[in-house]
Amino acid sequence: MGEDLDSQSQTIDLVLDSTLESVDKAERAALDLARESGFGEEDLDRIGMSVRECMVNAVVHGNRYNSHKKVHLSLSRTPERFTVRVADQGEGFNPDELPDPLAGDNLLRHSGRGIFLMKAFMDDLQVRSLGPAGTEVTLVKNVGAEK
């Protein structure tokens, strides 16, 4: 873990195993840091859930619970925004090709709501390929902008 700490900004980097315990750990770490940004309870709920969904995607769909693959989690806060980066070592995905979970035929599907919820709860979501094996998802929540 590395910390760059001053009164206004902070960054935390974690390398996590591809397990569900890592999902809980990431959510707790994100909430601890987001709380310091002054977010209200509703925003904290939404940030926590977005980090959970993002980590689940990385652990389950990206790394497929592979014990040799890691998830890199970077959390940073500035006076303007709270940023989460989750990088896995999986095959990647194109968010534009995911089915719309609100469409009639998809409404009662068992899965496929994770990215949709992240987009609904955060101010920005970007997906970046990290080459042959790996995908990085960046989530941003602006400080002081209720969504």
Partner: protein
């Protein structure tokens, strides 16, 4: 244990009291197993009491939807009782709130199966 489930019978309705977190892993598995057992035992009217559910993720939502579909396809009914603000918010965002029959009062919910 992330979630606790207690099943009780109120007339013709099977009420499942759920407490805790329904998230990927233990929570969603426990809910899936409990509802699957009820379906196997031919329970047709199931009321899921979510008053004590303080957290649900997309996996938990998936379990609710799957259970709803399975039970409905077998001629049964799955209804929800006592959604917390958080759960209600999620069901509204995912457009599932109007798919489920949602109740605030248990007696009223039980009568609605008649």
């Amino acid at each position: 244990m992330s979630v606790k489930l207690i099943t009780r019978q109120v007339g013709d309705v099977t009420v499942v009291d759920v407490a805790g977190r329904i998230t990927l892993g233990e929570g969603s598995s426990a809910l899936r197993d409990a509802l699957r057992d009820l379906v196997k035992e031919n329970h047709k009217n199931i009321l899921l009491n979510l008053k004590e559910v303080n957290y649900i993720d997309s996996s938990g939502i998936g379990e609710l939807v799957s259970a709803f579909t399975t039970i409905t396809n077998q001629g049964g009914h799955l209804k929800l009782l006592g959604l917390t603000h958080r759960v209600k918010d999620l069901l509204q965002i995912t457009k599932l709130y109007t798919v489920f029959d949602v109740h605030e009062d248990e007696a009223h919910a039980v009568r609605s199966f008649a």
